[in-house]
C-alpha cells in the first residue's frame, strides 16, 4: 500500500529532467504538456492516496516508506524516506492541485516568452522540491526541499534576468531566506546533539515525537525558536518579510504558485509538523502568535496604500501568512493549515486574475491607470470578485471559515484575550478594505488607461480563464470542509487532522466581560457558544464595514482619498514607503556589512594577511641582501672559507679528543 507514495514527488522530477534536457528542442506545446501532465500525475496519485485514507480508520492514515540510507555517521542515520499522513496529504493535494491549475494558466500566460522551456523546467523543479518538503519523513530531507524551493524561488523571481530589478529581487529573496535557513539548521543541529546525548540519534518525525519528552522546556523553547526563525524567512514574517513584496518581479503565475499558494506556507507547515515540540514550549508559541499578529496588521496597513496591484497582493499574502502563524501559535494547528489551504485557493486565484488583468492592460500594474475593466474582461472580473469576497471573510466563502476559526481559537486558547482578537479583526477589516479598494479601482469607474492600452484590452484565452474559474469555485466551496459546530457543520477538517495534531482540547469557555452581561443567562457552555457566535458576527460586520468604506471612498467619493493623502502627507508617505523598513535594513545591515567588508579588506586583508606575506618576503629579501655580499664570486674566497671551516671542525674534534 505504502509502496507508491514516493511517486508523488517523482513525477515532477521526471518532468523537470525532460524539460531541462530536451525542452529547448521540443515545440512549446510539448513542453507545457510534459510539465502539466507531470503535475496532473502527482495530483492523481495524491487523490488516490486521499481516497484510500478515507476508507481507513483515523489512526491508520499514515503511510511511511524509507527508500535508502542517505547519510550514516556513527549512530546517526538520515534516510531518504517519505511519509504521507493526514497533514501531508492535504499539502500534497493543495500543491499538486493548485500547482496544476497554475501550470495550465502559465502555458497561456508565458506563451510568447522566449524562456518558455526554462520557465517550465524551473516550475517543475519547484514542485518537485515542494513535494519533497511536504512528503519527507525526516527533518533533513525536509531541509533539502526547503532549500530547493528557495533556489527555485530565486531562479523564478530573477526569471527575466536581463531586468536589473528582477535579478536584484531574486538575490534579495535568496539572501533573506538564507538568514532564516540558518535558524532552521541551528535548530536541527541542536535537536540532534541534545537528543543524541541521550542516545536518540534521529530526525525522523515519528521517532522525534516519541522522544520529545527527553527535551527540557528550555531546550525545546530554544530549538523551536530556531525553527521559527527559519519559518519567518520562508514564510515572510517580521523581521524577514522584506523579500516577498520584491519577489513580485517574477512572472505572475510564479507569484501565484510560489509566493502565495505554496512555498511561503512552508513555514506554517513546518511548525504544524513539529507541533509536538511547539506544544512543549509555551513561550515560543506566544512569540509565534505575537509575530504573526504584528505581521498581519503591519502588512495590511501597507497594503492599503500601494498602487501596484501585485504589491497589494504581496502585502496581503504577508498579512494572511501572519494569520496562519497566529493560528499555529495559538495551538490551533488545524485552523492554521485550514487557512493555508483556503488561502492557496483564493490568493492563487487573485494572483492569476491580476495576471489576467496585466495581460489585458499590456503589462500595466498601476491601479491608477486602470478602471472600468468590469465589462471588458468579465470572467476575470467575476473570479477576482470571488477572490476578494473570500479573502475579506464574508460567509459562506472559504476565507470566512478559516479566518474565523483562527480568530476564535486565538481568542479562546489565550484564555479570552480580547486584544488578540481585536487586532486580528482590525486586520480583517483592513484586508477587506484594501482588497475592495483594488477591485473598485481596477474594475469600476472610468477607464484611466491611455488610448493605446485601451484599444488592446481583451479577455484572456480559455487556457487562462478555465483555471481562474476552477480556483474561483474552490474559493467558494473550499471552506465548507471546516464549518464550525456552531453553524451546524461538523468541522471535518479539524477531525481530519486529529491523528497528527491530537485531539484539540475543548475550549474552557472563556467569556468576554462586556458580552457576558448581555449573555448572562446560561451556563459555561452557553457562554462559550455565545462568545463564539458574537465574535463571529462582529467579524462579519468588520469585514462588511471594510468593504463599505472602500465603496464609500472609491466609488461614491473618489476625491476623499486624494484629500486624505494631501492632508496627512507624512502618514501616507510613511506607510506608502513601507515604514521605511527597507531603508532601515539597508542602513543597518547592508551598509553595516559593507562597512565590515571594507574593514576586512583594508585591515584584515591588506594589513594583516598581505602584511604577513609581504613581510616574510621582505624579511627573507633583507637577509639575502646581507648574505649575498659573502658571495663575491672569487673562487679563492670560497676556498678560504672552506679551509677556515675545516680548521674549525678539526680544531673542535682535536680539542674534544685531547680534553
Amino acid at each position: 500500500m505504502a509502496d507508491y507514495i514516493w511517486l508523488i514527488p517523482v513525477f515532477p522530477a521526471v518532468g523537470f529532467l525532460i524539460n531541462a534536457f530536451l525542452g529547448r528542442k521540443m515545440p512549446k506545446a510539448a513542453v507545457s504538456w510534459v510539465a502539466c501532465l507531470a503535475l496532473f500525475a502527482s495530483f492523481v496519485v495524491s487523490a488516490i492516496i486521499f481516497l484510500e485514507f478515507l476508507k481507513l480508520p483515523a489512526e491508520a492514515r499514515v503511510f511511511e516508506k524509507d527508500i535508502f540510507d542517505w547519510i550514516v555517521a556513527g549512530e546517526f542515520a538520515a534516510k531518504v524516506g517519505f511519509r504521507i499522513d493526514s497533514l501531508s496529504i492535504i499539502m500534497c493535494l493543495v500543491v499538486t492541485g493548485v500547482g496544476f491549475l497554475i501550470h495550465v494558466y502559465s502555458a497561456g500566460y508565458m506563451h510568447d516568452d522566449e524562456g518558455f522551456a526554462r520557465y517550465f523546467t524551473y516550475l517543475n523543479l519547484f514542485v518537485f522540491m515542494m513535494l519533497t518538503l511536504v512528503t519527507a519523513n525526516n527533518l533533513l530531507l525536509m531541509f533539502v526541499g526547503w532549500e530547493g524551493v528557495g533556489l527555485c524561488s530565486y531562479l523564478l523571481i530573477g526569471f527575466w534576468y536581463k531586468k536589473d530589478s528582477a535579478s536584484n529581487a531574486g538575490k534579495k529573496a535568496f539572501i533573506v531566506n538564507r538568514i532564516g535557513d540558518f535558524g532552521f539548521l541551528l535548530g536541527m543541529f541542536m535537536l540532534v546533539t541534545t537528543l543524541g546525548s541521550q542516545g536518540v540519534w534521529t530526525l525522523n518525525y515519528a521517532e522525534l515525537q516519541a522522544n520529545a519528552h527527553l527535551l527540557t522546556t528550555a531546550t525545546a523553547t530554544i530549538i523551536t525558536l530556531f525553527f521559527f526563525i527559519g519559518a519567518t524567512g520562508k514564510s515572510a514574517q517580521i523581521p524577514l518579510y522584506v523579500w516577498l513584496p520584491d519577489a513580485m518581479e517574477g512572472p505572475t503565475p510564479v507569484s501565484s504558485l510560489i509566493h502565495a499558494a505554496t512555498m511561503v506556507t512552508a513555514g506554517v507547515y513546518m511548525i504544524a509538523r513539529l507541533n509536538f515540540f511547539y506544544i512543549m514550549a509555551p513561550v515560543t508559541m506566544e512569540i509565534v502568535m505575537i509575530i504573526g499578529l504584528l505581521t498581519a496588521l503591519f502588512a495590511a496597513t501597507i497594503g492599503c496604500t500601494q498602487y501596484d496591484i501585485k504589491r497589494v497582493l504581496a502585502y496581503s499574502t504577508v498579512s494572511q501568512l501572519g494569520y496562519m502563524f497566529v493560528g499555529v501559535g495559538a495551538g490551533a494547528y488545524a485552523a492554521g493549515i485550514f487557512h493555508l489551504m483556503t488561502h492557496a485557493f483564493f490568493k492563487g486565484l487573485l494572483f492569476l486574475a491580476a495576471g489576467s488583468v496585466m495581460h489585458a492592460m499590456s503589462g500595466e500594474l498601476d491601479m491608477r491607470k486602470m478602471g472600468g475593466l468590469r465589462k471588458k474582461i468579465p470572467v476575470t472580473f467575476w473570479t477576482f470578485l470571488v477572490g476578494c469576497i473570500a479573502i475579506a471573510g464574508v460567509p459562506p466563502f472559504s476565507g470566512f471559515f478559516s479566518k474565523d476559526e483562527i480568530l476564535w481559537k486565538a481568542f479562546a486558547n489565550s484564555g479570552g484575550n480580547l486584544y488578540i482578537w481585536i487586532i486580528g479583526a482590525i486586520t480583517a477589516g483592513l484586508t477587506a478594505f484594501y482588497m475592495f479598494r483594488m477591485l473598485f479601482n481596477t474594475f469600476f469607474g472610468q477607464s484611466r488607461a491611455s488610448e493605446d492600452v485601451k484599444h488592446h484590452i481583451h479577455e484572456s484565452p480559455k487556457v487562462m480563464t478555465v483555471p481562474l474559474v476552477v480556483l474561483a469555485i474552490l474559493s467558494v466551496v473550499g471552506g465548507w470542509v471546516g464549518i464550525p459546530q456552531l453553524l451546524g457543520g461538523a468541522n471535518r477538517i479539524e477531525q481530519w487532522f486529529e491523528p497528527v495534531f491530537g485531539h484539540e482540547k475543548e475550549v474552557a469557555a472563556p467569556t468576554i466581560n462586556f458580552i457576558t452581561n448581555a449573555f448572562a443567562s446560561g451556563g459555561a457552555e452557553g457562554h462559550a457558544a455565545s462568545a463564539e457566535g458574537s465574535l463571529m458576527i462582529a467579524a462579519i460586520i468588520v469585514a462588511l464595514v471594510g468593504i463599505f468604506v472602500a465603496y464609500y471612498l472609491y466609488i461614491r467619493h473618489p476625491d476623499l482619498p486624494v484629500r486624505f493623502v494631501r492632508s496627512f502627507p507624512g502618514i501616507f508617505s510613511t506607510v506608502y514607503n513601507k515604514y521605511y523598513v527597507d531603508e532601515l535594513y539597508d542602513a543597518i545591515f547592508v551598509r553595516g556589512l559593507f562597512a565590515l567588508g571594507r574593514f576586512c579588506k583594508r585591515v584584515v586583508d591588506e594589513i594583516l594577511i598581505d602584511g604577513t606575506i609581504n613581510g616574510v618576503a621582505y624579511l627573507l629579501g633583507g637577509i639575502g641582501s646581507i648574505l649575498r655580499r659573502v658571495q663575491a664570486g672569487y673562487v679563492q674566497g670560497y676556498a678560504f672559507g672552506m679551509i677556515i671551516g675545516a680548521i674549525f671542525v678539526l680544531g673542535y674534534l682535536i680539542i674534544r679528543v685531547v680534553l
Partner: protein, 103 residues
C-alpha cells in the same frame, strides 16, 4: 728502508705539502698555479694515506691512493679544458678577474 724512517715524519711531510698547497690555492692568482697547488694538496693527502696504510699493515691506503690519482687525472683534463674556454671568453685566467658567480 721505509721502516727506518718513522711514520710521524711522513705525516709531517704530508701536512706540510697539504698546507703549502692550501696556501697556494688561496693566494696565487694564476689559475694554472692554483690548479697545481690543488694537485699538491691531493698528493699530500696521498702520502698520508700510504703512510697510514703502511703503519697499520693494510693495503686499503694504497687503494685510496689509486682512486685519488684517477680522479686527479680526470680533474686535470676537465680543469685545463675549462681554463682554455675561460681564456677564450675573458682573455685571462687570472682568478681575481673571474667572478661570474657573484651574488
Amino acid at each position: 728502508m721505509l721502516q727506518a724512517v718513522p711514520h710521524s715524519l711522513y705525516f709531517a711531510l704530508s701536512a706540510a705539502l697539504f698546507t703549502i698547497g692550501a696556501i697556494g690555492v688561496i693566494t696565487r692568482r694564476n689559475a694554472i698555479i692554483v690548479f697545481m697547488c690543488i694537485e699538491l694538496m691531493l698528493n699530500g693527502a696521498n702520502l698520508a694515506f700510504i703512510a697510514a696504510g703502511n703503519m697499520i699493515g693494510s693495503i686499503d691506503g694504497m687503494v685510496f691512493v689509486f682512486f685519488i690519482m684517477t680522479v686527479a687525472a680526470a680533474e686535470a683534463a676537465i680543469g685545463l679544458a675549462i681554463f682554455v674556454l675561460i681564456f677564450r671568453l675573458k682573455g685571462t685566467i687570472n682568478v681575481d678577474e673571474i667572478n661570474l658567480l657573484r651574488g
